[in-house]
């Protein structure tokens, strides 16, 4: 063994920013996350040139996956040109040479904060969700060591009790986004703060999903064709947001998750949250050649 075999030429930055050992650690943990769906796998979580809490977990997964033939879409709140989405997308393409896209159908990797696109993802696509808090039990058990033991014991009684209490007090479950969901009948996970509208898209999906929390140093995965069941009582159906009848004021599409825009003098108007779906619908209206993929919701009804 000589020094030459142990070293390599100096470079200012590694390809894809992360160095080889960081990528290997992530790969090992990503494989284990696939092997035990919904179970949080701890990882070292290196610092990246972005602030913690701004998608560093998702970014590390994407940087491990990316290569020069990748096509990357990044969204924040459903929008491709949200300022942080733009910043992350630009960073990924700068350090990897990957192509950028706004089109869900054209992407090989979709990194997202708080939304799953409305167009159905395919078998060859990977969804990377940014996760602020990976622990669905945090609200009932802030101590991370105790919460881990509860997952080990599949002890979710406290979580069920919280949901039950909400029904008793409010007449319904009050959980907004981040709806706790049972994966593969064993581990309760947070689907990240996606709206309830998006959770069914993870159940028996065709694509692979990674959920990664950089600050909290945990990642979990939902492989394709894996059961993801929101925690509900059998006599209280799961309720998605009541957006089925809303219409986008710009694109005219109806039956998708909307952003509400309060108006002067009261009342609200709505815009479709999946911004590129809105653009596609507009283009189609204007007669431009546009391919809108099959959507998970049809006429406001989940139908996949």
């Amino acid at each position: 063994m000589s020094l030459a075999t142990l070293t390599k030429d100096w470079a200012a930055t590694s390809y894809g920013f992360l160095d080889a050992s960081a990528k290997r650690e992530l790969r090992r943990k990503m494989l284990k996350a696939i092997a035990v769906p919904g179970c949080q796998m701890p990882y070292a979580s290196r610092e990246v040139p972005m602030a913690r809490g701004w998608g560093t977990g998702g970014l590390q997964v994407t940087l491990t996956l990316v290569n020069p033939t990748s096509v990357v879409k990044v969204i924040d709140q459903g929008a491709d040109d949200g300022v942080n989405a733009a910043s992350i997308r630009r960073f990924i393409s700068r350090v990897s040479g990957a192509s950028e896209t706004w089109d869900t159908l054209g992407a090989s990797i979709v990194q997202s904060r708080h939304r799953i696109p409305e167009e159905m993802m395919r078998e060859d696509q990977i969804l990377v969700l940014q996760v602020p808090n990976p622990e669905p039990l945090r609200g009932v058990e802030p101590n991370i060591s105790i919460a881990r033991q509860m997952h080990a014991d599949a002890d979710y009684g406290k979580l069920w009790l919280t949901l039950y209490e909400q029904i008793v007090r409010k007449g319904r479950i009050m959980q907004g986004a981040s709806y706790p969901s049972m994966v593969n009948g064993r581990h309760v996970m947070t689907p990240s703060p996606i709206p309830r509208w998006d959770v069914p898209k993870l159940n028996m999906a065709r694509h692979l999903t990674f959920l990664s929390a950089g600050r909290e140093k945990r990642l979990h995965a939902v492989p394709p064709y894996t059961r993801v069941e929101p925690l509900v009582f059998s006599d209280r159906p799961y309720l998605v947001e009541d957006h089925a009848d809303l219409t986008c004021r710009r694109s005219g599409v109806q039956g998708f998750f909307m952003n509400e825009l309060p108006q002067d003098g009261g009342g609200s108007v709505f815009e479709v949250s999946d911004s590129n779906l809105g653009i596609k619908a507009l283009n189609k209206t204007e007669g431009a050649p546009t391919e809108i993929g099959e959507t998970w919701y049809r006429n406001g009804e989940y139908s996949a």
Binding site: A11, R24, R27, L31, A35, N67, R148, R227
Partner: protein, 176 residues
């Protein structure tokens, strides 16, 4: 401020190897193609000085040492196990992790022809069921059932030349 060189051959090989491993584990029973036959690229992709690895051939042991990983004397001490042939004594020793840390369960990389015993796979990653053939005796699967108490268990890559089939601990295997 930031200039990044294009990926070198090692980077590209590791990236492609991981992609094959990732999809093979995500869709148990699907055959994926590795950029290079054998175990070398898999070591390069997954193993380094933060790992402890075991191998049953001198060549692979040398490969592990070169990666910087600790060479495990016993299967039970390894997080990555590379076997050129199946030995039930080795399998019985595999680290299955714990319910608290299922990620401590080992990754087994096994040289194995993708023909022979017919199996039916069900579980995460599989739409309904999937049939595969692997040159592994039914006794191995009985042993796996005994050892892997989900979420504890080990995850397997069956490597045949450049082809790889992944079977994670979450897959239910029925011998046909």
């Amino acid at each position: 401020m930031l200039t990044v060189a294009p990926p070198d051959a090692v980077e590209l090989r590791a990236n492609a190897t991981f992609e094959a491993l990732m999809w093979s584990l995500s869709r148990p029973g699907d055959v994926r193609t590795l950029p290079e036959a054998g175990f070398g690229a898999i070591v390069e992709t997954l193993v380094d000085l933060e790992c402890a690895a075991y191998a049953d051939t001198p060549e692979m042991r040398a490969r592990i040492v070169a990666s910087g990983a600790m060479l495990a004397e016993k299967v039970s001490a390894a997080d990555h196990v590379f076997l050129s042939e199946l030995d039930s004594a080795d399998i019985a020793e595999l680290n299955c992790g714990s319910a608290l840390y299922p990620d401590d369960g080992a990754t087994l990389v096994l040289a194995c022809a993708h023909q022979g015993q017919r199996l039916r796979l069900t579980g995460p990653g599989i739409n309904g069921s999937k049939d595969v053939t692997l040159a592994v005796s039914p006794g191995f699967w009985a042993m796996r059932d005994m050892l892997c108490i989900y979420p504890e268990g080990f995850d397997i890559f069956f490597v045949d030349g450049t082809s790889v089939i992944g079977i994670p601990r979450s897959t239910k295997v029925e011998v046909l």
